[in-house]
């Protein structure tokens, strides 16, 4: 199919005399993205869904520091540089000058971005008495979820272009948190103006940011339109218009891509991958996701208190069969608890081999020559890190039966599943994690730290040696030193085997051939600054 949009348009009985709004120059470049759903709103600090971030933070806003596109590396954003005090408790950001905010129908900025905007952005979330705190429902789940209220002591405006964050304790991952979506910087001037007008919620509905695209129109469940912001501080985007055509069904998204009705689509249906790969008009991109799917052992419950039992069960699992049968090729075997796209991933750890004989021997050594009875908890939902937990449970059940372990598969409704596994009712359980900020701490401390037992550490793993390493890594901001500590922590993890690490899923993104320089975002986002369309 050579002609793209034109063919589709003519086929539909339209003539393409129709570019956007005012008939802009015929050469205006428009990229259409078939997004999967409607955003919850346009202020990323209020929400948690990736769909919302795609529509807001990733196009309309900037953060003090940002992730280099396609990586988890932190680079300067609205801050040109930052200094960390010797005790690791003060972060001073030097702000970029000459950054413009968008001009909209409701707001014309009179000044450039400065420290007031940073103070407004974070104080709104931090200070319960801030006039904006309660606006639009006022729940800042990511800010809370990343423990920012406990971590931050104060936020100080040093001068118009310097802001200092004072922390209650040294916390190296703080800088990565500042690159997260919830830390997107809003305009304080716009907020003041809306408050005066008595319509503060407009700040969250009609966003004004500093980002590469500005919102033009949003029609719920139908379409979101953006135009390139000509005064963007990194230079105007290569495309002139960006359109999100909201298309919830994945098969239909692919039909639209084929028909030339969109250029990029997220979350393909695994059943369509073969066809996409063979499609001449489509370029199927893929990358390992920032996630891990695992089978955890409840390390506080007999017999999983014994590392030999955990090791034996891990060695009995045929991981390759799972990758093939459950992930259908869209997964890579995992040996570490963090995915390879995260810095400090330890390439030298050796994975436990699939060896039922050795597993049986080890089990006998642990005092279970005839095996034992247990359960496997399988999540009732499909997640990026585990497309079919039930199927995976069945495969593991069969593997374990070979070494004499009789496992019963248990499942609950999703909310209940999470609640019960948190309380430690399970023997073994399936779950996974998708990274928030690309920091190893976000996996290792959140999922395996002692503080997280009774919370997201559902294996209830609390090992002194491991804990010391990750706590030490939290308090130093020297990246080399942190890397060394995390690498060592992964060795301890491997030795202690609180989980059988199963797989990192592979993310697929089909794009049309005419799309240039599109990169898969390790955080699962969809970013269109830096993307171009071939004529």
């Amino acid at each position: 199919m050579k002609a793209n949009f034109v063919k589709a348009a003519i086929g539909a009985g339209l003539l393409a005399a129709t570019a956007l709004a005012a008939p802009t120059a015929a050469s205006a470049k428009t990229l259409v993205y078939c997004s999967e759903g409607s955003p919850e709103g346009f202020n990323p600090s209020l929400y948690t869904a990736g769909t919302t971030f795609d529509a807001s933070s990733r196009q309309v806003f900037n953060r003090l520091v940002q992730f280099k596109r396609g990586t988890t590396t932190i680079v300067p954003g609205l801050a040109t540089s930052w200094d960390v005090s010797a005790d690791g408790q003060e972060y001073t950001f030097n702000l970029r000058k000459g950054v413009k905010f968008h001009t909209t129908d409701a707001f014309t900025p009179t000044r450039d971005f400065n420290a007031d905007d940073v103070i407004f952005t974070f104080m709104r979330q931090f200070d319960k008495n801030h006039p904006y705190h309660g606006v639009s429902g006022g729940s800042y789940e990511y800010f809370n979820g990343m423990s920012m209220p406990d971590l931050i002591k104060d936020i100080v405006k040093v001068d118009d272009y310097t802001v200092k964050f004072v922390l209650n304790r040294p916390e190296a991952p703080f800088i990565a948190n500042m690159a997260m979506d919830f830390a997107s910087v809003l305009s304080a001037e716009y907020a003041d103006k809306m408050m005066e007008a008595g319509t503060p919620e407009n700040v969250d509905l009609n966003p004004v940011g500093t980002g590469p695209f500005q919102l033009v129109q949003y029609q719920k469940d139908a379409v979101i339109r953006y135009k390139a912001f000509p005064e963007y501080w990194e230079g105007k985007a290569a495309i002139d218009n960006l359109i999100f055509a909201i298309t919830p069904d994945s098969t239909v998204r692919y039909q639209k891509l084929k028909a030339g009705e969109c250029h990029v689509m997220p979350y393909p249906n695994p059943a369509d991958l073969t066809a996409m790969d063979a499609d001449e008009d489509v370029n199927l991109l893929s990358q390992e996701g920032l996630n891990v799917g695992y089978l955890g052992y409840n390390t506080e419950k007999e017999p999983f208190t014994d590392v030999k039992v955990r090791k034996a069960l891990t060695m009995a699992i045929n991981k390759d069969a799972i990758i093939e049968g459950v992930y259908q090729g869209a997964g890579a075997p995992a040996k570490n608890p963090i995915p390879p796209t995260i810095w400090s991933y330890n390439n030298d750890t050796v994975d436990d081999p699939y060896d039922p004989e050795a597993a049986k021997a080890l089990l006998a050594e642990a005092g279970y020559p005839d095996g034992f009875k247990t359960d496997i908890w399988a999540m009732p939902v499909q997640r990026p890190y585990n497309p079919n937990a039930r199927r995976m449970a069945e495969l593991i059940q069969a593997d374990w039966a070979k070494i004499g372990v009789q496992a019963e598969i248990v499942s609950y409704e999703w909310g209940e599943y999470l609640e019960r596994t948190k309380n430690g009712e399970q023997g073994t359980f399936m779950l996974g994690w998708t990274g928030d900020n690309g920091d190893p701490d976000n996996f290792l401390a959140v999922l395996l730290g002692c503080d997280a037992v009774g919370g997201s550490n559902r294996a209830r793993f609390c090992n002194d040696e491991f804990e010391q390493l990750i706590q030490q890594a939290k308090t130093t901001s020297d990246v080399l030193e942190r890397t060394r500590l995390y690498e060592e922590a992964q060795v301890v993890f491997k030795r202690e085997a609180p989980w059988a690490t199963i797989a990192h899923s592979i993310v697929f993104e089909p794009i049309r051939n005419e799309v240039v320089d599109y990169k898969i975002d390790p955080f699962g986002g969809h970013i269109f600054y830096g993307v171009d369309i071939k004529e």
């Binding site: 949009f5 063919k7 589709a8 348009a9 086929g11 539909a12 009985g13 339209l14 003539l15 393409a16 005399a17 129709t18 570019a19 956007l20 709004a21 428009t30 259409v32 759903g37 919850e40 709103g41 209020l46 948690t48 639009s136 429902g137 729940s139 789940e141 809370n144 979820g145 919620e201 129109q217 029609q219 719920k220 469940d221 139908a222 359109i243 055509a245 909201i246 298309t247 919830p248 069904d249 098969t251 239909v252 039909q255 639209k256 084929k258 028909a259 009705e261 609950y412 409704e413 999703w414 909310g415 209940e416 999470l418 609640e419 948190k422 779950l431 994690w433 998708t434 919370g455 997201s456």
Partner: protein, 336 residues
């Protein structure tokens, strides 16, 4: 006529209370709540959980929650969505026109195709034309909507390129909604080609949604026609020497229509159910898709408000259908 109308309206009130109680209870029977769904693997600490429960009003007993909700509804306040924090009624009124537009087209399609098919089948009873139309309608009735819709898309949109794949309007038109009905808005906008685009986007969803009601109407019309065609007065009409056309269209069809209209009225409920699937597949920004999404996120106010509004519409349509009987058959009006 007024008494008839009042009696019918009187029936609506208990139905309304029934719907509110049923919806409210059923929602709270679904395990897990919006807070857990939002938190996912990340979880939420107990203090924050309690805080959010209070914010959503879940800390009060269920009965209190119900009466608070009912109080709001009676004042026209359906609450705010937990997810978007926008008033439910506002979201409903934004999305509802799209559903009406699609449903009206769907039912028109069903009637325009279904009625003649039924009549043709009835007057050709037992002949190949009868068998053909009836097997067509049986196929239509048995077709799962999502599958039928995907077939239509793959054939007409991807292979032939005749119709757009999904959506309501080509994204290259920029139209501010005034009425919310795309056919009207595109006409008002005066933009060249916009109306044709809107119309072409309606074709496949209309067929997908209208197929089942079309099949039902065709079968109902056939059997009702067959019954009427056997009546004495039809024989009399024929004996008088009236043209077969006049006998069928004026004498038979009018009398055969009563049960058909009942069925058309009942199909409105079916249409809303079908709209959920049709809207999801064709990316149609209506209330069907909206409610499904709300269910997935346990967005209670949206689910409750949405279902309540749909119940109102279905009740309204059925009231209208009842009134239509009176118009077609005056005897019904006078019955007590």
């Amino acid at each position: 006529m007024l008494g008839f109308l009042l009696r019918r309206l009187g029936d609506v009130i208990p139905t309304f209370f029934g719907v509110t109680i049923l919806v409210f209870l059923m929602i709270h029977l679904i395990p897990s709540d919006p807070i857990q769904m939002m938190a996912g693997e990340r979880g939420v600490d107990p203090a924050r959980y309690a805080e959010l429960q209070k914010e959503f009003g879940f800390d009060k007993p269920l009965v209190v929650q119900y009466f608070n909700y009912l109080g709001g509804v009676l004042q026209g306040d359906l609450g705010k969505s937990f997810v978007t924090k926008r008033p439910v009624i506002e979201e409903f009124t934004t999305l509802f026109p799209a559903t009406i537009e699609l449903s009206v087209m769907g039912i028109l399609f069903a009637i325009i195709i279904g009625l003649p098919l039924g009549v043709i089948a009835a007057i050709n009873r037992g002949k190949w034309l009868d068998h053909l139309t009836m097997s067509l309608s049986l196929t239509g009735y048995s077709m799962p909507i999502f599958w039928w819709a995907l077939l239509l898309i793959m054939f007409f949109s991807t292979t032939l390129g005749w119709t757009p794949v999904s959506g309501r309007l080509s994204v290259f038109y920029y139209i501010e909604p005034t009425t919310g009905f795309m056919l009207i808005d595109t006409l008002l906008s005066g933009e060249k080609g916009a109306f044709t685009s809107a119309l072409s986007h309606l074709i496949l969803p209309t067929i997908a949604l209208g197929t089942i009601p079309m099949a039902v109407i065709a079968r109902m019309t056939r059997s009702s026609m067959l019954e009427v065609l056997g009546e004495e007065y039809i024989r009399v009409a024929r004996a008088k020497g009236l043209t077969p056309m006049r006998v069928i269209m004026v004498h038979a069809l009018r009398n055969a229509l009563i049960p058909v209209i009942t069925v058309i009225g009942l199909q409105v409920g079916v249409l809303f159910a079908g709209a959920i699937l049709t809207e999801t597949i064709f990316s149609w920004p209506g209330i069907g898709k909206w409610i499904v999404e709300a269910l997935n996120r346990r967005d209670y106010p949206t689910i409750q408000g949405g279902i309540l509004m749909i119940a109102f519409v279905v009740m309204g349509v059925n009231l209208f259908v009842d009134l239509m009987y009176g118009v077609i058959n005056p005897r019904i009006r006078h019955k007590r």
